[in-house]
């Protein structure tokens, strides 16, 4: 076969296989992310069917995938959302990061990895997958629940903290010595501050830059601008992902709504490419040896998120049942853990990428199941609390139970 022919055939086969797997995942109520990773592992070097031709496409496509993932995430939030959450929920956000990030650091140190790998593991274990979680909450009809605002604000704060964390990590990975590391972290944070203020204060100006009635023009302008900003951010070690995220926040109002609809399908395509690429560049023969440590880390990760949810729920005045549900909802890790691992890559430790792959495989499969498993337990706790209330205030004062 000619190069073009094999490129198209292999690329087509991979994407088609992803589609089939996505359909399967949907049937069982699973997230497709772990399946995309498995596909990547199967097609990569040392895998079942190594791919030859489309490697370049996957390399570039995965970069575009990160940019689009973060652009869409930024579009979900308005600047007001972020500021309001930061004001009211900052303590919960800090508890969440420390409680879930520190086990990752401890894990890296126990494995004998260096400080950069430890910092990377902090992010890998701390950040929940907002994509998986919002889908699980919607599917289970839980958006109206009283613990849901707490869950959502934890996700917002995690995403926002990534805007600080990723530039620091990128700068440290790029730096060669201690002095240059400090300098590049400072430059990265200063740039971040400037861009953040621009995004918050002058979002309307940026939105008016891309406004257009034609979908085609709007799509080209927005994706072009996103890649420009991401590239610029990468050049000063702020990380392309954060640049795209901030642009997403800056775009507001009707433009944001319109862009979400347009970029969504493109994001789905390139995000799939991104997950596959991470699998491709991970050596599957390393997986079995890291499965046990990754499994232990996953168990700890479930426990710490349950605790986080309990604390956040109690702070919001939610009952014990809701606190369990909040923690269970927060368990899945996904896209951010992979983004962090992709950023650090094999530069730190050969076992790093396979460990993160195994961890995300476990967390993205088990995570969405935890709320379903925890549900009867949460209900029992809530019933018991209700009985106690009834005893306390007397049955005549409680709400009548109407038939449904």
């Amino acid at each position: 076969m000619s190069h073009t022919a094999s490129l198209l055939v292999e690329l087509g086969a991979v994407l088609f296989a992803l589609g089939v797997m996505g359909r399967l995942a949907g049937r069982f109520g699973l997230s497709p992310i772990p399946l995309y990773l498995l596909a990547g592992l199967a097609f990569g070097t040392g895998g079942l069917v190594p791919l030859q031709a489309p490697e370049e496409f996957f390399t570039t496509g995965s970069e575009v995938g990160v940019v689009l993932l973060l652009l869409m995430l930024g579009l979900e939030y308005s600047a007001d959302d972020l500021v309001a959450n930061l004001r009211q929920q900052a303590p919960v956000g800090i508890v969440d990061l420390l409680l879930n990030g520190l086990p990752g650091v401890a894990f890296a140190l126990l494995m004998g990895w260096g400080p950069i790998a430890a910092l990377a593991m902090f992010g890998v274990t701390a950040i929940s997958s907002s994509g998986i979680i919002s889908k699980v909450l919607t599917d289970m009809g839980r958006l109206g629940n009283r613990e849901t605002p707490s869950v959502l604000s934890i996700l917002v704060l995690e995403d926002l903290s990534m805007a600080v964390y990723l530039p620091v990590l990128t700068a440290l990975v790029a730096a060669s010595s201690g002095a240059t590391a400090v300098r590049s972290v400072l430059i990265a944070l200063a740039t971040l501050a400037v861009v953040l203020v621009l995004a918050l204060r002058h979002g309307k100006v940026i939105s008016s830059l891309v406004v257009s009635r034609s979908n085609e023009v709007l799509l080209l302008l927005v994706v072009g601008l996103a890649l420009l900003v991401a590239g610029g951010a990468e050049a000063v070690h702020v990380s392309a992902a954060v640049g795209a995220f901030l642009l997403g926040i800056a775009l507001s109002g009707e433009v944001a709504e319109h862009v979400r609809g347009l970029v969504g399908p493109l994001r789905d395509l390139f995000a799939a490419v991104f997950f596959v690429f991470f699998g491709l560049s991970t050596d599957p023969t390393q997986l079995p040896s890291v499965l046990v440590p990754a499994g232990i880390l996953a168990i700890v990760g479930i426990a710490t998120k349950l605790l986080t949810g309990w604390i956040a729920g109690r702070r919001a005045g939610v009952g014990p049942g809701g606190r369990i549900r909040a923690g269970a909802a927060l368990v899945p890790r996904g896209e951010f853990s992979i983004i962090i691992a992709g950023l650090v890559g094999a530069s730190v430790e050969p076992a790093f990428a396979p460990t993160v792959a195994a961890y995300v495989l476990i967390m993205a499969v088990v995570g969405p199941l935890v709320p379903r498993v925890a549900d009867p337990f949460a209900r029992r706790l809530a019933r018991r609390a209700a009985d106690r209330r009834e005893v306390a205030v007397g049955p005549e004062n409680t709400a009548p139970v109407a038939g449904t």
């Binding site: 958006l143 109206g144 605002p149 049942g321 019933r383 409680t398 449904t404």
Partner: protein
């Protein structure tokens, strides 16, 4: 009546209130126009007992049905009058 408003970052806003008989009802308005209507569980005040998702058009229809019951009643009655033949059942019970 006191309506509570809660912002749901990334989704929209939630509004809920307690009915006179003690049930809590709520609506989430998503930015894309979809609405979730839900009923809280009296045994677990933090959870929803039932949720339905309505498209922008469906929620508009529901709002019209809820907001204009008198008009609907009148329409129904006048339809009944038209269907019935003069002197038959529709007039039978009237004074």
């Amino acid at each position: 009546m006191r309506i509570e408003e809660t912002r749901l970052p990334g989704i929209g806003a939630r509004y809920d209130f307690a009915t006179e008989k003690g049930r809590r009802v709520g609506v989430i308005s998503q930015r894309d126009g979809a609405r979730h209507v839900f009923l809280y569980d009296p045994r677990d005040p933090d959870a929803c007992q039932a949720t339905i998702v309505l498209s922008a058009e469906e929620s508009q229809t529901l709002a019209e049905l809820l907001g204009a019951p008198r008009i609907v009643e009148r329409v129904v009655r006048s339809n009944d009058d038209e269907d019935a033949l003069p002197g038959e059942s529709s007039g039978a019970g009237r004074v």
